[in-house]
Amino acid sequence: MTDVINTVPGMPQGASLESTEPKPTNSTEKYRNEFDVEINGTVGRPFVENAKMSSRNCDVFYGNKQAIFGVDLDIGNHEIIALIGPSGCGKSTYLRVLNRMNDTIQICKVTGQHTLDGEDIYDKKTDPVLLRARVGMVFQKPNPFPKSIYDNVAYGARLHGLASNRGELDDLVEASLIKAGLFKEVKDDLHKPGTGLSGGQQQRLCIARAIAVDPEVILMDEPTSALDPIATAIIEELMDELKSNYTIAIVTHSMQQAARVSQRTAYFHLGKLVEVNDTDKVFTNPEHKLTENYITGRFG
């Protein structure tokens, strides 16, 4: 939805996802060091029965550099899935595939089948703006519009015509702020600028803005990496509450966060999806050596 405008400053960051070393093009060419473990497809349980979104054979290229290699993944309905992995492993790129955020990057090419409730989201008939209303996004840095708190939340609703009169809009703004756990703190300051809030409040404002358009899926790209532990805890608590109504995919660099909030965890490595499993399993007994190395903080 409207966040597209605000993502532009973040774009170069996305485009520079390229710590991927030159990969061997054929499998006979052995490129490995002591800790390198071959990745032969995804281990674990990438598919679920009640998939909300699913990707099959997803490849992403930036120019002629391939960022993601053949990812197959389902995101279950009303679940929180955490995408983890080292920088440049393609997890953010994959997240952006899910609401066609990569469309705005000229050199970016996405292939494979991607569906939301079984509908192809890369179909020519799909309107990306409407798609992004159904699949909302929250970014690493809180990015409220330079408008009042009220207008920040009301923006998307106005754009999509979700409220027919002022009263409905008021209710919608209030409900969204309550869901985002921010209403109590700002109810007397709704017409003050959103940029005047603290970082944690701003981030919750962005979440309120994302849920105001009643999305089905919320994508979160390191939503708490700029916040202190208390604001982080509040957002995590919020995610847990939102889970009953929304499907959430979160990219995080904090493994403890992934362990705390998610039901399933997907581990990406050098553009490949290495392992998807229940979070409990991933953090106690991961199947793949690379996952193990990453979450235990070993070389790999």
């Binding site: 493994m255 362990a259 953090f283 106690t284 007994n285 979450i295 235990t296 903080g297 070389f299």
Partner: protein, 251 residues
Amino acid sequence: MEIGQHISQRYNEELEDIRNKVLQMGGLVESQTEKAIKALLEHDQELAKEVSTSDQKVNQMEVEIDEDCTRVIARRQPTASDLRLVIAVVKVITDLERIGDEAEKIARYSKKLAKNPSVVDTHSELSHMSTLVLSILHDSLDAFARLDADEAVLILGRDTQINKEFDNLSRLLMTYMMEDPRHIKNALRVSWCARSLERIGDHAQNICEYVIYLVKGKDVRHTSLEHIRSKYFPQDNVDIIETISNDQSEV
């Protein structure tokens, strides 16, 4: 599986340190058990006293290692194999401490037995049982030291032999007691020692279960031996069966 290779060198050292302390504690407990058994079989009161005083050291080590583990959990939030290592260590040292307690009990009764020489002669039975217990204990600690789940699974089930010996010994003691009620006191003491030996065997088996948990990530407690072997060690099933049948033919 290996303990090292964390990006944080300090973390490696902390885990390595914990593991070394457990091995040290294992060594201490093993020697305590050996000494207690020697004191029992040879009526050596001095040695028995030594065991009683050294038990304090075992207890101290348990507390110390427990603290180290708590600190690692708080500071490092270990995951996956590291987490399993810490959890396994916490459990292993509990069993080691209990083994230490049993050794101390054996030492205590052996002091009394040495003071009151008796006609109750169970030397050969006790000595046979002790050999079995010590070998299980030694092998369990060895499996832990080398993080060798294959060895650990071989040890599981070896306590059936100990249990048989214990039953035989109990029967023998009962005949002594029926013969002459004056034997009851000493017979009971011997019986308690045998019970302690049998418990040491059980604790050693628990250690093997933690080794399997640590290496394979599977909790095999309260699971039948056949199930463990067929499910988690299918490839060595044949070897294991061969080894067992060899063992039995030797016996």
